[in-house]
Subunit: 414 residues, 2 copies
């Protein structure tokens, strides 16, 4: 099936104008109806999902698991929709306001971005989560999911659009591309006339392709080569617990730690314990010469290891001479996502937080907390690793913009 | 002269790390020394500028005027530097802070973007203004000015770099490309490894080329097809004064009005007066059939007129049936910069401010106020017409970003 991108874009822009001006109560009611509709259409969703699963026979088990929708998972999506209904609506907030020297009252009012495009990979829940967050924040959305989930995604989106329609809301506020070819994705990346921002969600291959090709402004999400630095004043138990948690609690996600740096003064004492705890949890360790002299089971690391995001039970270990060395190494190799120092030294903690150039800089906590839910935003549309517009977990506020609304009584410029 | 962009980028990134962590007092002192140094080197600057002027013999007078540096203009730049020294430093501000459910203290701290690249056209004062604003906000800058101003720009930048050097600050915090070829500009647009944001300043040709080609994130500035809408309840004198001010006070700039929409119910009464006042100020009027039936001196407008930014003493006039028609027309043809309604109708004023999708939406005031100085920001690096990151006049705050700084005592994720 081919899509007419210009038509889709123009329809999205038209719908965006309508939903930008819906009141919060209407939006919340529709979100709750989305939830009810998903539960009511469980069988239909499972049937569509089964078609995708049938086509996914040759794919790895991990991939198939992400694709699979069960009645329980559909209930989970519905619950997510109800949670978004309960979140505060950022639209219409006045962020700042002041009166200028001429007596103009100038207010900076929060408004939707307009049309958001999302390009994502296999997980069909993204189409529902993204629709909920963009709708609540008054934005229209154009979804482009992976071909592996096309039957699930189109069924889910059709259910949401039917609810919009019943409520007298332009159903083109939520659209999905039926054509999952690269050519069509590429067209979407150049739809500057209609699309205000493009958010890719997926592996680094997808994200890099979007950054390289898109002329529509992009918010980069998700690449995480996260570091734990164990300082010379670290508490050994805390260092072990945090390192294990950051590495193994969910190794496939972007806020999982990939690298362990340890201070040379305590490496002899602490590294064997930490390495043992990691290996007990099935982690393969790769390290520099110094770390391998301390723990013989560590395999040699190559130059590539320092910049690799494994998303797996692998961790590279390096012995560093000081907090300054740790900071230099991290600022050189990190993707700017999340880093943590384990220390009891006030000056080192302060220095690490000041000098590390990443979205989230922790003292004595697991990097796994970099997440919209954990931060208390209630939901997230992704984690930005760029510096423009949004940095770190992106909640509703991060998918809005502002405009200046100025009230005068005849002022002209002299 | 050729430039090694990778070397320039790496040097900028290194310098950025140093100046991100300078205290405000040091930065202010350096800015004041910049000012003194410019004044002291007036002769040297004028000599370099004369070389550029000699090469500009064949260029239009307006262009030559923008290029020209006199002792008075150099004093003006020095005064601008001192003003930037007096502005509040946004770096280190904590924008929000909260404690999450696990007891993590999470602060959103304002930090520099890192390395900012600017591509601009003839005016050499941009190299000094941009250096001042990026330095004050802790960012390194890579400047790429037009070839017409190369001698002026490099001389100005050399003076600033000498001051940095004397103060023990990495002079690569301010760099300028000596090669003004398109190839080198293109290389700069793809220097994602080192450049955090690219800000083009100039005509729409330059800005479109950057948006189309750059893989580095861009902040679009400056295109302004601004509208004045005279509502049926407008005060005629106010409507005339604001329209004339918005059109003629400085027609070459982006916040000057280019279009006049007038309500059909008052067009017979008001348009002759407003048109006469504009024509008395040398404005050429182009209009739709209805406006030409009312004022015979109005020339016919073509379809292109509605989307054209003249930057000149030309204005297109259209008679519309209602505030809703005015809003539809503006949202279709505007570049999203600045629009103003002249009205005494509360509901119309509120509707216009709510529904117009532009950076600055005025009631009863000239669009010429869309400006960092007029808003009270003290200075501006440009006016953003995009929705991502910054919208409207960009002061120091808009060329910074944030990072989350998180303080725990051993928290791990469950």
């Amino acid at each position: 099936m081919t899509d007419n991108l210009n038509e889709i874009g123009a329809n999205a822009k038209k719908a965006a104008f309508q939903i930008a001006n819906l009141d919060t109560e209407t939006k919340n009611q529709v979100l709750n109806e989305f939830a009810t509709a998903l539960t009511e259409h469980t069988n239909e969703i499972v049937t569509a999902n089964n078609k995708d699963l049938d086509n996914a026979n040759d794919l790895p088990a991990k991939f198939v698991d992400r694709l699979k929708l069960t009645p329980e998972r559909i209930d989970g999506m519905a619950e997510g929709l109800r949670q978004v209904a309960n979140l505060a609506d950022p639209i219409g907030n006045v962020d700042t306001g002041f009166t200028n020297k001429d007596g103009l009252i100038i207010e900076q009012r929060r408004v939707p971005l307009g049309v958001i495009a999302m390009i994502f990979e296999a997980r069909p829940n993204v189409s529902v989560d993204a629709s909920a967050l963009t709708f609540k924040s008054g934005n229209a959305v154009i979804l482009r999911g992976g071909k592996e989930a096309i039957n699930s995604n189109t069924t889910l989106v059709d259910i949401l659009r039917t609810v919009l329609n019943k409520n007298g809301i332009d159903e083109n506020a939520i659209q999905i591309l039926h054509d999952t070819s690269h050519e069509t994705a590429n067209e979407l990346m150049h739809l500057n006339r209609y699309v205000d921002v493009l958010i890719p969600r997926g592996g680094s291959g997808l994200i890099n392709a979007v950054v390289q090709n898109s002329t529509v402004p992009v918010i980069e999400t998700g690449a995480g080569n996260c570091h734990i630095y164990v300082d010379d004043s670290a508490d050994l138990k805390m260092a072990t617990d945090i390192t294990v948690n950051a590495k193994v609690q969910r190794p496939s996600v972007c806020n999982a730690a990939e690298k362990l740096l340890i201070n040379a003064d305590v490496a002899d004492e602490m590294l064997p314990t930490i390495a043992q705890a990691l290996e007990d949890n099935g982690v393969e360790l790769r390290g520099d010469d110094k770390s391998r002299q301390i723990v013989s089971s560590i395999k040699p690391a190559t130059a590539d290891d320092w910049s690799t995001e494994y998303n797996d039970l692998i961790m590279a270990v390096k012995v560093v001479d000081s907090v300054d060395d740790a900071i230099s190494h991290i600022n050189e190799y990190s993707t700017g996502h999340s880093e943590s120092i384990i220390t009891n030294n006030y000056a080192h903690a302060k220095k690490f937080q000041q000098l590390i150039d990443s979205a989230c800089v922790y003292v004595n906590a697991s990097t796994r907390f970099t997440d919209g839910f954990e931060f208390g935003f209630g939901a997230e549309i992704g984690i930005s690793t760029q510096k423009l517009h949004a940095r770190g977990p992106m909640g509703l506020n991060e998918i809005t913009t502002t405009k200046y609304v100025i009230s005068g009584d005849g002022q002209i410029r002299k």
